[in-house]
């Protein structure tokens, strides 16, 4: 009993001292609560479906940020990982009868292999070359899909995959818990030593190499990690939609993930996730104006970029928080002095 009380007290003090002092952390907690409690308020299958897809794409967008945002290796063919994950999960499920909990991670491992396959040649390229070359890979794969319709289902894709779970609400919980878990892992990765090296490679690769870090290995690691998370998203998508088709490999898929990530703000992980949770439901609700839907979407992205070229969420965060000039700890914008070192915060 005492132990429980102790942990409760500890939890309370953590919340009081670490979470409630910063609005961005409060927002993260609210976000977790919102995602976990949504089915309590509504069981509308259409709404749940939107949020399931949103969660899947949130993993996908965050995985793009992990690779392209953090290491600066612009990947314009991220749909490759998604598609490889979806197709291999579907094939494993259909032919080897592996249930979803096995086929999705296995599909993600295949996507890791894909990451290695495209990562090794692409390490020689940089910047725009890399961006434009990676764009080619999903298209090459799509050509193969069309060329061997017996195995891949061609234009129709692979259908008849088993369901993720038996009901919509449990689907929602599986996907959203996986999403929260994977995104937290990605966040942790970017906070670790590895993440710092990733970030350093983005800023100045030559300097990192000069510091004795094998940047090639780290870039390859980024490709594999990103491939794994995107492959998980792809597998979840295949099992939720019960179809893996060439649409998963389309150019627009690769572009959309770039739009989400840059709109939300790269090098943050939370940016792309937030952007997907903002833009994807928005796109669905804009269905009321079917014809104007994509137009509105593009226009909103354009206008927001004009005012916030670094992305929406870093901009918002800078508005509500400021960094202490002395100890580099973030404070709520209302404070005049730093909450830790009591240094004067600049206005």
């Amino acid at each position: 009993m005492d132990l429980i009380l102790f942990y409760l007290k500890k939890l309370f003090s953590v919340f009081k001292n670490e979470v409630f002092v910063l609005p961005s952390r409060v927002v993260v907690v609210l976000f977790f609560l919102f995602v976990l409690l949504l089915p309590v308020f509504t069981r509308d299958p259409y709404l749940l479906r939107i949020f399931i897809l949103t969660s899947i794409f949130a993993i996908f967008a965050a995985s793009w940020d992990l690779l392209s945002g953090f290491t600066g290796q612009m990947n314009f063919g991220h749909a490759l990982f998604f598609g490889v994950g979806a197709y291999s999960a579907a094939l494993l499920n259909l032919h080897a009868h592996i249930p979803p909990w096995g086929s999705i991670p296995l599909g993600a491992l295949v996507a890791v292999l894909a990451g290695l396959v495209i990562g090794i040649p692409c390490l020689r390229l940089r910047g725009t070359y890399l961006a434009l070359t990676t764009l080619a890979f999903p298209i090459v794969l799509m050509g193969l899909v069309f060329a061997f319709p017996d195995f891949t289902g061609g234009e129709l894709g692979i259908s008849g995959i088993s369901r993720l779970t038996t009901s919509r609400v449990s689907d929602y919980y599986v996907v959203s818990v996986v999403m929260l878990g994977l995104c937290t892992i990605m966040w942790k990765i970017t906070d670790s030593n590895t993440g710092i090296i990733f970030h350093a490679i983005r800023e100045d690769e030559v300097a990192v190499r000069a510091a004795g870090v094998n940047t090639t290995r780290y870039k390859l690691l980024a490709f594999c990690l990103s491939g794994f998370f995107a492959g998980m998203a792809g597998g979840l998508y295949a099992h939720f939609m019960r179809i893996a088709g060439p649409a998963n490999l389309e150019v627009s898929m690769s572009f959309t993930v770039v739009i989400w990530a840059i709109f939300g703000g790269v090098v943050t992980i939370y940016g792309p996730i937030g952007a997907v949770f903002l833009l994807f439901p928005l796109l669905e609700f804009l269905r009321f104006w079917q014809e104007f839907r994509m137009l509105m979407f593009a226009a909103i992205v354009l206008v927001i970029l004009l005012y916030m070229p670094d992305g929406l969420f870093p901009w918002l965060r800078d508005k509500i928080e400021k960094e202490c000039p002395r100890c580099k700890i973030r404070n709520i914008a209302l404070r005049n002095t730093c909450r830790v070192c009591t240094a004067q915060l600049d206005k």
Binding site: R124, L125, L132, I139, V140, G143, A147, L295, A298
Partner: protein, 291 residues
């Protein structure tokens, strides 16, 4: 024999189209470091413009072509000023701004003309027979016009002051600025030139293709493959790369089973293989690290 002629003609037409597009794309990348993913969207808009001019307003196709090219170049300048110039320093933002721009054009076009396939009649109807293969006059016109424009462009780049300014900006933006070249203005003029080229490509190609709002996707990918293959910012590279990929596409379409599905992938595989051997493309000058 007929097959060979077919392949040659398709390859030349495809190659010229890609060359025109890729050179326009290369120009703006070289001069302003803008990766303009909306480049082929302007080509699509120009094609629709010509459709309106000739089919709806009954203008002569030549006038239609000229007006469309000018209008689309203006459209390019306006969108550059409004959406690209303010965020030019943020590379990622420019990328999605141009994608979003392309999506806006695509959506506006599908609102105005719906998604149905449209077509524009040839400038000169008819064909002649070469070794048993029909060669349409329009194909000849497209090819000749492409070469002519490329020659003109070469003259502009090599012999005029604007060309000199453009080339020096492409080589080193800061030093060009220090030498008294108004870098912002050069970037704007290059944008006009490059979009004009895209519009012209649309104008000469439109009678040979089908108009639909998503017609910019395939050329965009091929154009980027050409540019990467030839080496970014290298006009000669873009030119040669365009014909390599144009012929590769034509060969695959006519010779391989399931060719039309594989034409894109094969061309892109060629690009990937070349990049593995020469990471800076065929004629690429390896850019020094941007300062």
């Amino acid at each position: 024999m007929g097959l060979i002629i077919d392949i040659v003609i398709t390859g030349l037409i495809g190659g010229s189209t890609f060359a025109l597009l890729a050179i326009g794309f290369s120009l703006i990348f070289g001069a302003a470091r803008i990766v303009n993913l909306a480049h082929t969207a302007f080509y699509m808009v120009a094609a629709y413009c010509i459709y309106v001019m000739t089919q709806k307003m009954g203008l002569h196709p030549v006038w239609g072509m000229i007006i469309a090219t000018v209008l689309v170049a203006l459209l390019g300048l306006i969108s550059y000023q409004l959406f690209i110039n303010p965020i030019r320093e943020h590379e990622g933002a420019v990328l999605i701004a141009t994608i979003a721009l392309a999506m806006v054009f695509q959506e506006v076009m599908s609102l105005l003309f719906t998604g149905t396939f449209l077509s524009v009649p040839a400038l000169i109807k008819g064909y002649f027979v070469l070794l048993g293969v029909k060669v349409f006059y329009q194909q000849l016109i497209t090819f000749c016009a492409a070469l002519l424009v490329l020659a003109l462009l070469w003259l502009v780049l090599m012999k005029t002051k604007l060309g000199l300014a453009l080339r020096s900006t492409a080589q080193d933006r800061e030093v060009a600025n220090l030498m008294g070249i108004n870098e912002a203005r050069v970037a704007m003029m290059t944008m006009g030139l490059s979009v004009g080229l895209a519009a012209f490509t649309g104008a000469v190609v439109v009678p040979l293709t089908i108009l639909e709002p998503t017609m910019w996707m395939h050329p965009l990918i091929m154009m980027m493959a050409v540019v990467v293959l030839g080496g970014l910012g290298s006009l000669k590279g873009s030119f040669i790369g365009a014909y390599i990929l144009g012929f590769a596409e034509a060969l695959v379409v006519f010779l391989a089973p399931m060719g039309s599905f594989l034409k894109g992938p094969v061309a892109l595989c060629i690009m990937i293989v070349v990049l593995l051997i020469r990471p800076e493309g065929l004629f690429g000058v390896s850019f020094e690290e941007e300062r």
